[in-house]
Structures are given as C-alpha cells and as structure tokens.
Amino acid sequence: MNSIIKMEAERAAIAQRSDWLGILSRSIGGELEALATDLTSGLAFEWLRAPHVGLVMVRGRAGGTGNVFNLGEMTVTRASVRLEDGTVGHGYAHGRDQRQAELAAIVDALLQLPDRHDEIMAKVIAPLRQKAEARRLEQSRKAAATKVEFFTLVRGENPA
C-alpha cells in the first residue's frame, strides 16, 4: 500500500517538475531574466554542463494521426548546474538564449529545495505561466473576432 502511495507521489513530483521546466524553457525575451536575476545572483554553483546550443528534430505524423515523420529541426539551448549542497538542476530554453538556459537550470535546482520551493514557484513560475496564458488568450480572442457567423438570406416576397 505504502509503495503505491510512494509511486503516486513520485509521479506527481515528476509531473510538477516537467511542468516548471517547460514553463522556464518556453518563456520569451528576457521574461525569466527579469524575474529570476535577484533570486539567483551571487548563488554559488558549478557547471555540470555549460550552456550550449543544439538541435531538436521536430516530428509530426502523416495525416496528424498516422506514421511519424521528421518535419525539421529547431534550436534549443541547455545547461546543467550543481549547487553547493549537491542539488542538480537542468535548464532548457527554446532558441539560442544561453542566459535563459543557465537561469532555468539554477531555478530548477532551487525549486527542488523544500525551503525555497514555494517562494520560487510564486515569484518565478506563476508569473511566467500567467504571461504565457495571457499571450495565448489574447491571440485566441483576436482569432475569435474573425470567426464567421453564417446567416441564411430569407427569400421572400417584397415587403409590402
């Protein structure tokens, strides 16, 4: 019984970490820098992997649901750090922003520290999530304004 509870907890922890890593990676143009610089400046860490740019082959499916094919590549930057207490953080950033990958790795490490977790979630992850959602909402509302409202022309007699 205990092992089931433990597995569930592990799964939830993984889902949560996947979520914040994604939010950090997908943030755009200096958003992370603005939110995380104060929290990370002066923090001692060593590089496990200095920030470097690489490619991810993006895949699609024939017809959207069929066999997999290679669509093309995209640039991605990644970095890994170790804090003084040994906590390892991995950072990813879409595109080629090395600073973003570095900050993402440090923030990932800090989020794993129980005494810092809530604070960092509130100060970094929540605002990044809000910005992304606001962008998505705005785009969607602009698209919604171009939705066609069909109406039927009633053919009838000339109005009396």
Binding site: S18, G54, G60, G72, R96, R136, S140, A144
Partner: protein, 369 residues
C-alpha cells in the same frame, strides 16, 4: 588529366566581399534593418526560410535573409549550412496538431463545423490592390479586433467527422519505430511516406506548387477538397536523457493541411475518400496545400493507381524538390570550368576536322566518278 589549380583572383575575391557588403547595406543615409524588424515585418518570408532551411529559429532566419539581401534560396542555403555546426540533442515526440492553439482554421468541405470557420490573419479576402497608405510613413495602422471570449480550447479535426462513417481512410500509426531522416541518410527508393513528407516539408515551395498545379490540370488524378487548413501553435515535447520524462520545451507555429481526394475503390476496398497531408513550420499555406496534393499524388503506387505523371513519380519529385541541391548544381556552372572546356574545345575541333576530311573525301570521290 590531373586537376590543374590556377592561382590568382585572391584580391578580386576579397574585394568582391567588400563590394557585396556595401551593396547589401544600400543607401547609407537610410537606417539599417534590424533582425527584429525583419522577423516582425517580413514574417512570412522568415517562415518560408525556416521551413525550407529546415530550422525553426526566427532570429537565425531573419539574419539569413538580411545577409542574403532577401534572396530566399540563398538564405535557406545559409541556414542549412549553419545546422551542420550544431549537435543533435534529441528528437521530439510527434507534435499533436489536434491540440493546436488555433489562430486560423477553415474547411472547404463543411460549412458548420465544431469550433467554427476562423479566418485568422489572411490575405484571402483582400482585393490585391496596392495599398498606397502603406507607402506613407508615420500613419497609424489598423489594430485587430479583440473578441470578448477566446476560441474553444479544443477544436476537433474536421476530418474526424468523416472518419466516424468510414467514408475516409484512417491514418493510424503502424508502430514502425525507425523514422527516415534525410539529414542523416541518403534518399532511398521506393520511398516511405516518412521520407516523402520530410522531403516535401523542406522542398522548394515553387517546385512543389508547380507539381501540385500539374496534378489539377490533368497530369495526375486529383479532385481535391480542403478538409481543413489550420494555423497555430503546437507544443514540442522531448524526453531529455538526463531526466527520462517528457518536457514541453517549446511552442512553435505550424500550418497544417488535410486534403481530401476521391478514390474509386478497388477489388478489396470499397470507394472511399483518401488523404494527402501537408505540414510546415511557420505560416505557409500555399506550401502546405501544394504539399498535401503532391503527397497524395505520390501515394499512387500504394493505392494501386497507375504511375503516369511527374507528380506521381516519387523518384522524380524527391530528387528535384530540394532547392539547395538544385541551386548548387544549376549555378555551379558559372564557376571556372576552364580545363573541362579546353577538353571539349579540343574534341569539337578534332570532330570538325574529321567531318571536313570525310566531306572532302566524298566530294573528291564524286568528282572522280
């Protein structure tokens, strides 16, 4: 004959680099273009360069366009060359286009579709008259209307409406694990659909468009309907080896086209609609529509149709769709071929001398008789 290296021209080449730099910059009295300006205001050019350069990175594509003075194929070439300098980190999970954050979505087959017809940003309904207001500077431009409510978060694929009746062929994963990759292996024939779709996705828009057009004009059997055309953002998910679980590392813009085609049926299969598919990076509608038509045409063999026309001939299409390769081969002829040509020159002189000798001999023989 050994290859003969000819020295010289070094200074001329250095000077041409400086001249092209000055030419690219143009009138110095005007402000220089920034990458942000190119990316923001020449968005569709950037999208095409990303799709055919086969790297999703707006800034790099903008840089390539700036460096190439707007020459698309040169810019695409620059991106392809750049990619060879970077390591491959991972291959993504297949993007799920049914989860797309929709910005445009239309169907030509059904008027009333769940989620509606969303025109989005398009030139389709413009008059194609030059807008001289755009030539004027400092004017305020129209702003988008913002609706009170967003679109539905889940917009179902139109094609699924037909799928439930079995009227259209199903697209399902046959579980094949190995995915063909043109960047790592040479072209293979007969080609799988994975190879064909990758080739078309990065193939030249003009070439693919011309082939698609040919299928509609009788050089193929296409009677197409656009089941759905959608534009929007999809998540790119990878499973980093250091983590072992998936992370949605990016959100990218893609265009997708589901083309529906007639199929008369065969001894085994009842009549049914068949499908052609188009998907590209960025906003590239013309390209995805053309891609889906050519994809369908190249399925002739697998559907038991006669392969009679260029667009149905996968070897012809796939071997010629890549504009970096085509450009390289066609334009290399302007580079020095001095030695080759000397050889040809000698040969033609010799042939002419032989021809003359034969003619003279024949004349003498005629005169003697």
């Amino acid at each position: 004959m050994a290859y003969v290296a000819v020295k010289g021209g070094e200074q001329a080449i250095l000077n041409t680099h400086r001249l092209i730099s000055e030419t690219r910059r143009g009138n110095q009295a005007l402000a220089e273009l920034t990458l942000a300006q190119i990316s923001a205001q020449f968005g569709l050019a950037v999208d095409r360069v990303m799709a055919e350069g086969s790297i999703y990175d707006r800034e790099l594509a903008a840089l390539a366009l700036k460096q190439a003075q707007g020459d698309m194929i040169e810019a695409i070439f620059l991106l392809r060359a750049y990619r060879t300098t970077l390591p491959r980190i991972a291959a993504s999970e297949p993007v799920d286009t049914s989860e797309m954050a929709i910005r445009r979505r239309v169907s030509a087959t059904f008027k009333d579709i769940p989620g509606g017809q969303v025109l989005g940003p398009t030139y389709d309904y413009t008059h194609r008259l030059l807008d001289f207001a755009l030539a004027a500077e400092g004017l305020e431009r129209s702003q988008a209307v913002v609706a009170a409510a967003p679109l539905d978060e889940q917009v179902p694929q139109v094609i699924d409406l037909l799928d439930s009746e079995g009227l259209i062929e199903e697209e399902s994963d046959d579980g094949q694990e190995e995915v063909f990759d043109l960047t790592r292996e040479p072209m293979r024939f007969p080609a799988g659909r994975d190879q064909r779709l990758q080739n078309l996705a990065r193939g030249d828009e003009g070439f693919v468009l011309g082939l698609a057009y040919s299928t509609l004009r009788g050089y193929g059997h296409n009677h197409p309907f656009v089941g759905e055309l959608r534009l929007g953002e999809v998540m790119v998910e990878i499973v980093p080896e250091e983590l072992g679980f998936p992370v949605a590392i990016a959100e990218i813009t893609v265009t997708e086209c589901q083309m529906i085609n007639q199929f008369r049926g065969s001894a085994e299969k009842p009549p049914q609609f068949t499908r052609g598919y188009g998907l590209t990076f960025g906003h590239n509608e013309r390209k995805v529509m053309a891609m889906s038509l050519v994809d369908r045409a190249m399925r002739a063999r697998e559907l038991g149709e006669d392969v009679r026309y260029p667009a149905q001939d996968e070897e012809f299409v796939l071997s010629h769709a890549d504009n970096v390769e085509a450009n390289g081969f066609v334009t290399h002829f302007k580079l020095p071929h001095y030695v080759d040509f000397q050889g040809e020159l000698q040969l033609v002189r010799q042939l002419r001398a032989e021809h003359e000798a034969t003619r003279e001999a024949a004349q003498m023989k005629e005169a003697a008789e």
